[in-house]
Amino acid sequence: MNPRLLPFLATVVIFVVAYVICWLQFPAMLSTRVIGNLLTDGAFLGIVAVGMTFVILSGGIDLSVGSVIAFSGVFVAVMLRDTGIHPVPVFVLLLAITTAFGAAMGLIIHVLQMPPFIVTLAGMFLARGMAYVLSVDSIPIAHPFYDWVQTAYWLMPGKGRLTLIGATMLAVFVAGILLAHRTRFGANVFALGGGVQTARLMGVPVGRTTVLIYALSGLLAGLSGIVFSFYTSAGYSLATVGVELDAIAAVVIGGTLLTGGSGFVAGTLIGVLIMGLIQTYITFDGTLSSWWTKIIIGALLLAFIVLQKALLDITAKRASAREAG
């Protein structure tokens, strides 16, 4: 087996074990309802985390996504409220805007050689600020198209729902996996993560790839914003604060190195599911106070990361021992 796959496998093993533990404690956790919820509730996070995976693989970071999601919701809501345009063209316009926004950040990062952390931090302020400027109120969305999308789900046996947005996330993951691991663009992303200077010397189009990566992240943040607007039927400028950190955590739990150059899009899906599992577990438990909730989330995050590391170290040791023997 290829040792490159180890971090991913470790994540999967941990997820399965964790789920089994949850199920032993709360048998209701293994219902299609919970599984459907994990997918639906994780949808917007999952989509944005795919974009984040690309960014992190390239050695960058995108702090703007949470704000872009909020901006997208507000933008869609305002457009639907103030103009008679059908949602679909509004979506297209929005995706164009967020993609351009991402591309612009990528361009600044590349041309001005500024650290992504800071550029996207400014982007985070800007996108949230633009959302405020559009509207500080939360704006409900009422449109037949939204009603239709919300009722478009497949009722799994056991009353669980596989919703359209959950399915969208899965589709985005499939596309992301192909793009990252099976295209030249994907290889270039990994190359940037391995070292920008070296990648440049090897003929990787550094500028174009950087711009494309952040554009992709912007695009997916926009898409995630649309999904979020379906999820809540509203646009709200204060929504999704801190989602960028959730996305980063999901990516890292999924076995991608924050230093770039190594990781898996599929691992991110597991990361998102693990984050959802933690939430669900805490709700099922239902006895934790606000503060204990935070402490337990932190402790579980730590546990996952330490376990993953331990698992990797053990397998690495085994492998070297086998080679020697």
Binding site: R182, T183, R200, L201, G203
Partner: protein
């Protein structure tokens, strides 16, 4: 040398860095179907010249003509598109990608936009087979030694060069066999009409493969010569601009009292998966050479002895007292020093100045509280810059901006500054020019005369023969033979490397 013959030409190429004029109006021409060696001391501007050719640097002035037409590569992609393939001095591949991906990055075989993995791996295997390498191409590049990475880099560059192939010190970490293999490939390409630029500090190799040489000194063109009209001495004079006293070794190889108690005794030390347990005594004033093929476990031996890779069996004594070697700090505390093989990732602190790099080990040993006074730091740095002839505009220049060979010298200085009792040098002369090479060998001998013990790993057997009192031969991660005194000859070493283990054992000592 008519105009039509020139495949690649530069006219008045100039490149300035803050504080240095790396290239000063250099004219250079490369013909189709020749191997053209580019020679010069460390810091002469060779790497800079080729980086200007490939667009990695933007030149300040001058023309570049490819087949008579001016070209202006803005980045390396342009150069690749023009059919100029390059192996840069430091291995410039991506450690986090698989070998196959490194070989075919940007040219992966595709079907409907998706990379065909299997086809890619097959192609990669085929590419490496030419160099006698059959490794798992799906593993990450960083699973392999520097030498293998070097070969992969060469394979990649060769496959991308339609018209020109540039090799910047490709043989620095290769063994004879690999070098021979590489030269076969290069000759084949030359016969197919490619122009090849070859940079090396191994003059033997230059004489073996080159058709013409261009010599640079301090960023200026010194001359262009056909190899036929040159001898070694002449070439060295051209490069250095002065006479180099050919070192005549006295046969003072004795003088080590093997009956006295050794300074250090490694008994049964080893590490699973890295190097089999071995015994080794280190005596005062002794130079121990370590020879072996690529990946045989030489570096592992050194890292183990320095505590960089903890041993899992055996014990060490120093002057009869037990010594704990769990980390480099322990080793340094016991008076060890270690100059690692991969200077880019394990040696230099790129963003920091030459001065800081030189005092680093000394400072680390003194502890953070007792700062080496600035005056002393400057003295040390200036002293070593002078003694080792490190070419830098001043001691405050970031070491990353020095030429490769000069970085190596600064690393040596780092350890000499700590005045160690036992110094381990892994490939200390890699990428160092002839002048400095002689200087370093003289220094090794001086150091030993003053009582320091040395363990030197080198792929250059001549060099090992020149200064070793004893040579350890490593094969397949086992110390298989030990040659002492007059028994040390190039032939003997080659034989020990090649001979099966059982026989080699008999010959030890």
């Amino acid at each position: 040398m008519s105009e039509s013959q020139a495949l690649l030409r530069t006219e008045g190429l100039t490149k300035t860095f803050p504080g240095t004029r790396a290239l000063d109006a250099v004219d250079f021409d490369l013909r189709a179907g020749e191997v053209h060696a580019l020679l010069g001391e460390n810091g002469a501007g060779k790497s800079t010249l080729i980086k200007c050719l490939t667009g990695a640097y933007r030149r300040d002035a001058g023309e570049i003509l490819l087949e008579g037409a001016p070209i202006d590569p803005r980045d390396t992609q342009d150069a690749l598109a023009l059919g100029i393939g390059t192996v840069y001095q430091e291995v410039n591949l991506l450690p986090n990608l698989s070998v196959a991906e490194n070989l075919l990055l940007g040219r992966q075989p595709r079907r409907v936009g998706l990379v065909r993995r299997r086809a890619m791996n097959d192609r990669a295997r085929a590419m490496l087979a030419r160099y006698g390498l059959s490794i798992d191409v799906t593993r990450n590049l960083d699973a392999y030694s520097v030498a293998i990475q070097q070969i992969v880099a060469i394979a990649r560059a060769v496959s991308m060069s339609g018209r020109v192939l540039i090799l910047d010190e490709p043989t620095a970490s290769l063994d004879r066999d690999e070098v021979a293999m590489l030269f076969d490939v290069v000759r084949g390409l030359r016969d197919n009409g490619l122009g090849i630029i070859f940079i090396s500090h191994f003059l033997d190799q230059v004489f073996e493969i080159a058709d013409r040489v261009t010599v640079l000194r301090n960023g200026r063109l010194v001359g262009v010569h056909d190899i036929g009209g040159l001898d070694r001495l002449r070439l060295v004079n051209l490069m250095l601009g002065r006479e180099l006293a050919e070192e005549t070794r006295e046969t003072g190889r004795g003088g080590i009292d093997y009956d006295a108690a050794p300074r250090l005794r490694f008994s049964g030390t080893g590490r699973r998966g890295a190097i089999a347990p071995f015994d080794l005594d280190v005596h005062r004033g002794e130079v121990i050479g370590v020879a072996g093929l690529l990946g045989s476990g030489r570096t592992e031996t050194a890292e183990l002895m320095f505590g960089a890779a903890p041993m899992d069996c055996g014990s060490v004594t120093s002057e009869g007292r037990p010594l704990r070697l769990a980390s480099p700090r322990d080793a340094i505390g016991a008076g060890f020093g270690f100059s690692p093989e991969d200077r880019k990732t394990s040696g230099i602190i790129g963003d920091m100045s030459v001065r800081e790099n030189i005092v680093l080990a000394l400072q680390a040993r003194q502890g953070w509280l007792r700062r080496v006074p600035m005056r002393r730091q400057r003295e040390l740095a200036d002293d070593f810059i002078k003694r080792l002839d490190i070419r830098t505009s001043d001691a405050e220049k970031p070491i990353g901006e020095l030429s490769g060979g000069n970085q190596q010298k600064a690393l040596l200085a780092r350890w000499l500054a700590t005045n160690p009792e036992f110094l381990i040098l892994d490939e200390p002369t890699r990428g160092i020019d002839v002048g400095a090479h002689a200087e370093i060998i003289r220094m090794i001998e001086e150091l030993c005369a003053s009582g320091m013990s040395l363990l030197v790993i080198s792929a250059e057997l001549d060099e090992l023969v020149a200064y070793s009192h004893r040579v350890i031969v490593v094969r397949d991660r086992v110390h298989v033979a030990e040659l002492v005194g007059e028994a040390i000859t190039t032939d003997a070493i080659v034989k020990a490397i090649a001979r099966p283990a059982a026989e080699a054992g008999e010959n030890a000592r």
